[in-house]
Amino acid sequence: MGNLKLAFFLAYKAILKGSRWTLALIILVMSLSFANLILTPSIMSGVTQAINKEQINTLFGHIIIDPPEGSLFLNDTGQILQKISGEAAIAGVAPHINSTAMFEYIPGNTSLKEEKTGNWNVIGIDPEKETRVTTIAQSMISGSYLEPGDTDKIVLGVEIAGGEQAESKDFLTLGGVKIGDSITLVFPTGTERQYKVKGIFKARGGNANNLAFVNRPELASALNLPSDQDATSQILIRLHNSSQEQQVISKLGTLLTGPQVRSWSDYGGGIGNIVSSFGVVASLIGGIGLLVAGVVMFIVIYINVANRRRQIGILRAIGINRKVVMGSYLLQALLYGISGIIIGGLIFGYIIKPIFDSHPIDLPIGLVSLAIEPGNIRNAVIGLIFASVLAGIFPVLNITRHSIIRAIWGN
């Protein structure tokens, strides 16, 4: 008990009467290290969240109802929609008919009159329902979105239309389709239809920009689907609150026998790998950040301890146990670590986070803000405490390992 009390007493006096500048420097290093430890994974989580958000907004919604195993289509879509309409957690449903088609475009304003072709996915939608699930309608860069009565109109993703705003090389697109141009779609059924380009969109989620949209009855007709079948390939569902996803999936699972109810994340295969890669990269950067923080802390604390080498020797000479001396420096290191966590947390919460909130990073995948996850904070706290304890204890261990005389006289 006496030893513990003395360790506390020595630590308290060293902090109280020691150099203010050294104390401020150590705590500053700890604070910035802590803020950095949270910042890196928060940016990575922010990127992940932005990717996920755009996937939900442009491609999948939160939940997807797929046809039963072995079937290509969901039949009696109206009945399905009616069944799920009572679910309060659902903000919107959007039936889709999915198909591929060969797109043909003869540019009208070039001297070559060279035909441009390519295969892309075309989706039949109910425009009014669609706007309650996806945000494509808000991503138009020219023209306008589909309306329910449009039969010979098509809306193209920018990577199909081509032109200056497309990311893809010109030969991978239709080469610069304009609003009002006509394009011909040849469907797998052999049906050939001509559409006027009504709008071109550019969504942040890059994958959606390779899609084209027509009205659902129009696509059903092009695919020769009987109108009484009321067929759809998928129904996308958007929720008011994404946290209810699993709950709604299980509820719909019991409500609908036959159709398969899936989370959007089940479709994020490729994206899932990218997101996992971000996690690995974030861990690596976080690990390196922790290592750098640990080394900096070690150097600062080592210099501080080395300057007290003689005092450590004298304390030991007068009979103070080595463990007491180490304990006092361990307590100091813990105080540095805890102060760093508190001040670093305040710097992060009141300076860095608000800056990112008001000025998110504008990346092609979306607007990236900081996403603070409890796990990241926990890891940073544990990491910093661990690093400060190691950085605090090793220099003292090194000094107390030598003979007392060597500590006092430094030879």
Binding site: K13, I314, A317, I318, G319, I404
Partner: protein, 221 residues
């Protein structure tokens, strides 16, 4: 009583090794006031450090009150130093962040009787003439006063043996006399064994006996 048998201390290895102490044999009786004297490099400080368990010899044995103290573990030696031995170093041996009073009673905190020792520390500081200075920090007092505070610290746990390594080396004549008078008084009134390293010939008059060292060996005069 301190008994030393065939004590050797070699610093370094190989051709650059320095044989600082060579087969030292000596006895110091309880209550003796001993001076270890000799030229610079004769090994007097090394001998004091070994006797005070601040360093380990290369070979040999040290018995304090019939206990072979070199057989004790590092932790046991620390406890032994705390309870049985007191040290006064040459200079700058106080902890700068502690007041003189705190410097004196910190060894006692380990023994868990802080309040009792606070009173005792105050009393000892008054004895050594530092009553009005107990709340001062080391940098606020003179070298002589620091050294007297260091003596007070060495006495706090009532050690049987007091080791002093050139305690007056950096002091003026007046302060040196005060320190040596204090040692003499402690030795005569409390029966404390005092082993002091000094290079001042005039200090001889304060001590019962002088152990002369030359080239790491005891020189019999």
């Amino acid at each position: 009583m301190i008994k030393v048998h065939n004590l050797n201390k070699i610093y370094g290895k190989g051709p650059t090794a320095v044989h600082a102490l060579k087969d030292i044999n000596l006895e110091i009786r309880t209550g003796e006031f001993i001076a270890i004297m000799g030229r610079s490099g004769s090994g007097k400080s090394t001998l004091l450090h070994l006797l005070g368990l601040l360093d380990a010899p290369t070979s040999g044995e040290i018995y304090i009150d019939n206990q072979n103290v070199l057989k004790l573990t590092a932790e046991e030696q620390a406890k032994f130093r705390l309870n049985r031995l007191g040290y006064v170093f040459q200079e700058f041996s106080l902890i700068s962040e502690l007041t003189l009073l705190e410097n004196v009673y910190i060894p006692a905190i380990c023994l868990g009787r802080e309040n009792h020792f606070k009173q005792r520390a105050t009393a000892i500081l008054e004895t050594v003439g530092l009553g009005p200075r107990i709340r001062h920090y080391p940098h606020e007092v003179s070298g002589g006063e620091q050294q007297r505070a260091a003596i007070a610290r060495a006495l706090i746990n009532s050690p049987g043996i007091l080791f002093a390594d050139e305690p007056t080396a950096n002091l003026d004549a007046t302060s040196s006399r005060i320190i040596l008078d204090l040692f003499k008084k402690l030795n005569q009134e409390s029966g404390q064994t005092i082993v002091m390293v000094t290079h001042e010939p005039e200090d001889e008059k304060y001590v019962d006996r002088v152990i002369w060292l030359k080239d790491g060996m005891i020189e019999h005069k």
